[in-house]
């Protein structure tokens, strides 16, 4: 097998991830719920651990539905505990800590528990297979269509919730829709790339774009460009310099953000 053919699935997976995560990242940053993906991923992992306690292997369908079920419960929770006095990020942090601790307690009781736990949230983009890429691409495409049709309303709820409320929109319901679709994406993405990589894809392209643009369309196209260029460079670098691919991508995403900061300073 030659290198190009071997690296192609990883690159295509990066394309799929960039596509939806850039858009969701803009929402996440506007809402100020930066760590919501890590919390939801941890809640999904808790679901898988519970499935494991009942004897379902992590790779099985039932385990996936456990993960999804728990993520949806988490989404429900995040949507309905919006509170003026308490910052959303506090609730997200607490959910993360509690879900992690619960998983550790459960893992202590099952064979290979703690080892199993470490691996639920780790993925390796190099191992991704074509059927998984295609399945994920279809799910994300359908979600993308949904988000495209409601983009104006959803953006209003994310950026100016008071304004949305004045217009008579049901905020909790829109929040729920957002977190549900977000949870669905995170559960699939973490399985492919692991939690660090997914976080980078979510936050970095959106952050770079927000430095330069305001309009949703420009934000998305700039974010996509940054995401794709960084993915290509990272995958090539990890091959040439013989480095683990996931951490290389995350590191270069960090550098891409610094680069954008510098360009912004110079252009001004």
């Amino acid at each position: 097998m030659n290198a190009l053919l071997f690296l192609l699935p990883a690159f295509c997976a990066c394309v799929v991830l960039t596509g939806i995560h850039t858009y969701l990242g803009i929402h996440v940053i506007r809402r100020g719920v930066i760590f919501v993906d890590i919390a939801l991923a941890q809640i999904a992992a808790l679901g898988m651990t519970i499935a494991f306690v009942f004897g379902f292997e992590p790779e099985s369908q039932i385990s996936y539905f456990f993960a999804l079920g728990f993520t949806f419960l988490g989404a429900l929770f995040f949507a309905f505990v919006r509170n003026e006095r308490l910052h959303q990020e506090a609730i997200i942090g607490i959910s993360f800590a509690t879900a992690s601790a619960l998983s550790i307690l459960l893992a202590d009781k099952i064979p290979h528990g703690s080892e199993h736990l470490k691996y639920i949230l780790s993925g390796n983009i190099l191992w991704v297979s074509w059927p998984v890429i295609i399945k994920t691409a279809i799910i994300y495409f359908l979600l993308g269509i949904f988000h495209y049709t409601v983009r104006h309303k959803l953006m209003l709820v994310s950026t100016k919730p008071e304004e949305a409320k004045r217009r008579g929109m049901k905020i909790h319901l829109w929040d729920l829709l957002f977190y549900l679709s977000f949870g669905l994406v995170i559960t699939s993405s973490v399985q492919i790339g692991g939690i660090l990589l997914v976080f980078a894809f979510l936050i970095v392209p959106a952050s770079c774009a927000i430095l330069f643009y305001d309009r949703l369309k420009s934000l998305i196209f700039f974010g996509w460009t940054i995401g794709l260029l960084t993915s290509i460079v990272s995958i090539a670098a990890s091959y040439w310099y013989d480095l683990p691919t996931g951490p290389t991508i995350v590191t270069l995403f960090g550098i891409a953000l610094i680069f954008c900061f510098v360009v912004k300073k110079i252009v001004r």
Binding site: M1, A3, F6, L7, A10, E59, I104, D108, P111, H112, S114, E115, K118, Y119, S122, N124, L126, W127, S129, I235, S238, Y239, D242, L243, P244, T245, G246, P247
Partner: protein, 299 residues
């Protein structure tokens, strides 16, 4: 002072054991199984790690320190296998009998021929390298004999009243195991020289004894994902050398070997490395029975 009171309360919570049995604590279940063979009715053996846990890493629990605080003898694998968690537990146990260098502290590695002792410069960049060599030596049954003899000597030294029984038990165990070894070696003849890939190096001693050829490792540094160059060279190697099997320790993530199988068609075998690593493996011999049978089925 506070800590002393706390310790007093904790020790009161532990029911007093009136029996005069020698209390032996081992770090891994295989050492517990061997100690049970030698100590028989005169010892009470408990293992800290379960057979299905990775002995490199353990979540510390209060019960471990309590176990150690009441032990007469601690038997560890040594070679820095337990270095991540045992020293702290020893300090917490406040049991002078089982501290390093005491007669109540046995490193079972003494007298075993150690593999993979690194030569030259060693540093952290090489992953979780063991500077004293590969610590998974119990996976060669010949070493099992050495370990058992060590245990017998040490038990006789601390509990001289039953020294004769321990020596006697050892001789019986030795002849049983030697008999088993010759049986296993007959079965292994068919597997000699077969090429395999392993996940990491836990099976080095087993593979060395069984005469299998390890052509490559999936994760040369556990916990650090392999680079694309490494995976690609593995795939090409499997195809070129027609390697039929990859074995993974059952406490490592099976995902990488399963994905490798999906790409190349190589078979995957997930194997226990310790007594208790799977529900029905209860003795040291049963561990090798299981390993050899499972390998013979696929190779």
């Amino acid at each position: 002072m506070k800590q002393k009171i706390l310790f007093l309360i904790l020790s009161l919570l532990v029911p007093l054991n009136a029996s005069a049995k020698l209390k032996v604590v081992t770090t891994i279940s295989d050492l517990a199984a061997l100690t049970q063979e030698i100590g028989g009715e005169f010892v009470e053996v408990k293992s800290i790690a379960r057979g299905d846990q990775d002995p490199h890493y353990l979540e510390p629990k209060p019960s471990y320190a309590v176990l150690l605080s009441r032990a007469d003898l601690l038997i560890e694998v040594g070679l820095q296998l337990e270095t991540g968690w045992l020293p702290v537990l020893l300090t917490q146990s406040r049991n002078p009998k089982v501290q390093f260098g005491q007669p109540g502290h046995l490193s079972a590695a003494e007298g075993v021929a150690i593999l993979e002792i690194p030569t030259g410069r060693i540093d952290r960049s090489m992953g979780d390298i063991h500077p004293e060599g590969n610590p998974h030596y119990w996976l060669n049954p010949q070493n099992g004999l050495v370990i058992a003899s060590q245990i017998a000597q040490r038990l006789a030294q601390i509990d001289s009243a039953h020294a004769f029984d321990y020596q006697n038990n050892y001789r019986q165990f030795e002849s049983r195991l030697k008999h088993k070894i010759s049986e296993w070696e007959k079965k292994l003849v068919a597997l000699k020289g077969k090429k395999i890939i392993t996940h990491h190096k836990s099976f080095s001693y087993f593979v060395d004894w069984a005469g299998l050829q390890v052509m490559g490792l999936i994760e040369p540094k556990p916990g650090i994902p392999p680079s694309p160059g490494h995976i690609l060279s593995l795939i090409n190697l499997i195809e070129k050398e027609k390697i039929p099997l990859v074995i993974t320790e059952n406490y490592y993530d099976p995902k990488p070997s399963q994905k490798l199988a999906a790409k190349t068609g190589i078979k995957v075998l997930i194997l226990p490395t310790s007594v208790g690593g799977e529900g029905d493996i209860k003795t040291y011999s049963e561990l090798f029975d299981a390993l050899i049978q499972r390998l013979a089925e696929v190779l």
